[in-house]
């Protein structure tokens, strides 16, 4: 075990996989000479050379399209999109090609591609650069969508994504790079894609979350424990394929659910989880499932307004008390 940040964990995962498998290479805007907008790939150009660390034009469609071609041809590309907001420019490549080629060519083609990208608000980057549209990508069958909330999961999931035979959309969070945690040293440490994880055990209420909001949920759980409320925190880690099992097990124990997501409420992760809970654990519910999500506005630039629009620890605590009928 070593204590490191999410940034270091992702960097380490990339480096280990590039040493392990020479087919693995990285490409994206300013990842080489500049070392990546979030400094994840700093030093990689010197370490691995231009062949395996490729700076690309500012053209997301080209980045993903070229990566798809390389993947089909037998390489293991890790394409970086500077932010998830720019992924919309490559949406056709992602959802119509990467996600569907294996199916449309009757399984003759595999697309072992990883698209690394960065989402999330809270850094005063304005409405177009602060979005958390994770569910858009999770909507498409054929694509795996992963969004870790801890350094260990970031490393283990990225390594698993690179070794996966299918396209994986890997969403990092802009405000999580500094978050620190224990990460196993083992070079073959993998976190399986599509497996939810109970990050904190408790019997009174189930808080379902992932990515940055996992940290918010854990903070809320800590404060709630001070009031004698034991929250169980389930980390989805993967949005597609969604592993609802641990959520259902938890609900059967607690009878109450709060889903915390950074994206907008409508048609979101909370809606999906609530629906599955209703389908699979209806008879165990003691209160309607509560969703804590971003206010349904373009995210404000103003710092205070931005924080007001994003889910905060207090919002989670309030929602928990709501489902416990404590208000």
């Amino acid at each position: 075990m070593a204590r490191m940040s999410v940034r270091e964990a992702i960097s380490q995962a990339l480096r280990e996989e590039m040493y392990r498998d020479e087919r693995v290479f990285i490409m994206g805007e300013e990842i080489g000479k500049w070392g990546g907008t979030y400094a994840v790939t700093r030093g990689f150009l010197d370490e691995f050379g231009e062949k395996r660390v490729r700076d690309t034009p500012i053209a997301e469609s080209v980045i993903v399209g070229a990566a798809i071609g390389a993947a089909i041809a037998g390489l293991r590309p890790v394409a970086e999109l500077m932010t998830i907001n720019f992924a919309f420019l490559a949406l056709d490549q992602i959802v119509n090609h990467a996600a569907k080629m294996h199916y449309m060519f009757n399984g003759q083609i595999k697309v072992p591609l990883v698209i690394r990208t960065v989402g999330g608000g809270g850094r005063q980057l304005g409405a177009t650069h602060s979005q958390t549209p994770d569910v858009i990508f999770a909507h498409f069958p054929g694509l795996k969508v992963v969004a870790p909330g801890t350094p260990a999961d970031a490393k283990g999931l990225l390594k698993a994504a690179i070794r996966d035979e299918d396209p994986v959309f890997f969403i990092e969070h802009a405000t999580l790079y500094q978050a620190k945690g224990e990460v196993p040293d083992d070079e073959d440490f993998l976190v399986p894609i599509g497996v939810s994880d109970v990050k904190r055990a408790g019997g009174d209420v189930t808080i379902v979350s992932y990515s940055k909001m996992l940290q918010v949920a854990l903070e809320a759980a800590e404060k709630l424990a001070g009031e004698g409320i034991q929250a169980e925190v389930v980390d989805l880690r993967t949005l597609r394929p969604l592993d609802i099992g641990p959520v259902i097990d938890s609900v059967k124990k607690t009878n109450r659910v709060v889903v915390v997501e950074e994206g907008w409420r409508s048609f979101g992760v909370g809606a999906e989880v609530a629906s599955r809970v209703a389908e699979l654990a209806f008879d165990y519910l003691d209160a309607p499932v509560r969703r804590v999500a971003q206010a349904e506005v373009p995210l404000p630039y103003n710092q205070r307004l931005e924080q007001l629009a994003l889910p905060q620890t207090a919002d989670v605590i309030n929602a928990v008390k709501d489902v416990l009928y404590l208000k």
Binding site: N255, F282, D283, Y284, L285, D286, A287, Y325
Partner: protein, 420 residues
Amino acid sequence: MAELINMPKLGFDMQEGKLGEWVKAAGDSIGQGEIIAIIETDKASVEVPAFRGGVLLEILVQTGESVPIGAPIAVIGEAGETVDLVALGVGRVEAEAKVKAKAEVEAKAEAEGEEERGAVAEGGRLLASPVAARMAGELGIDLRKVQGTGPAGRVIKHDIETYLARQERAAKAAKAAPPSPPMPIPSYEPAGAGYQAIPLAGIRQTIGRRMVESKQQAPHFYITMEIDMAAAMALRSQLNALLPEDGKISVNDLIVKAAAVALKQFPNINASFAGDEIRIHEQINIGIAVARETGLVTTVIRDCDIKPLAQIAAEARELVGRARDGRMRPDDMVGGTFTISNLGMFGVDDFIAIINPPQAAILAVGAVQQAAVVRDGQLAVGTRMKATISADHRVTDGAEAARFMQAFQAALEQPLRLVL
């Protein structure tokens, strides 16, 4: 300005209050907080202080009257002020109407049994969370009887748990409380002034409770059969000639064995009613009703189908002896699956007995007597005994009980069956 004083809510479950006493009279000056009246609730007498100072202008509810909480009971205001009840929004007529309506609702609720408290939304749908509804279903709880504390009175898991805890406490309290006879108390006084009062001893209380329970809950039906006892009596004489004085076989022993033989053939009679199921017992344990000064007890002989007649006789002698002497052991009284009550020694022709719950049946046996019988078209003297089974219709039906009685009759009329 004149203001209404309303019936205060003095307890969580208070619905209405009775005006016990007016401490102040109309026209009296009152300081704020001064006691103006005493209200009687179901539980206590409570003083009502004035919420403001002034003059008690008018009393709207007289001593002894009951009104629902919130109903106006008096008007307070300034000296000399005229009271306009209509302007105050309430009249005595309305208050009276409220009381009447309330009384009707309560009478109805009482008639329907327990008060219904769960939240009922528009359209008559009961509000309960899914888990609360499921728990109620599994535990057999009527959701209408659970107080809902969720939004709009929704019954939530916590409410079910609270309800269960309360039931449990109530059950414990009922157990802990000194046994009081839940028998209906006669509403008349015995004729004449002189009588001797005998406190209801424990055993009489138990008999009373169990017999009332049986008669109220078990639908009894009765089948009487006349049995030719000549052969049985002859066999008994033969057997007793071989047995020592303290090992003789009684008529009752024959009856017990005959019942066991018949029960073996009709296991549905060797049963008990357990609410949602009928329990067919593997053992045939026959209880014998033993009369005592203090009251009836039943002593149980186990495995009567397996034990030979002589052993049944020996055990019966021992058990009945212990019962009569008041030396019964706890085991002597429990585990019965069928009961025989024999009043033959009193010369009784026949009678019917009350089922000993939860058993399915009881057999009442009269005396073995000489009787005029018709045999081959000729009047003759026979030896006869009448037996009547009382059976619980929830467990068995007439035809089955009749066939059981035939088997019982056959066992006694061909008594070698009893010693096989």
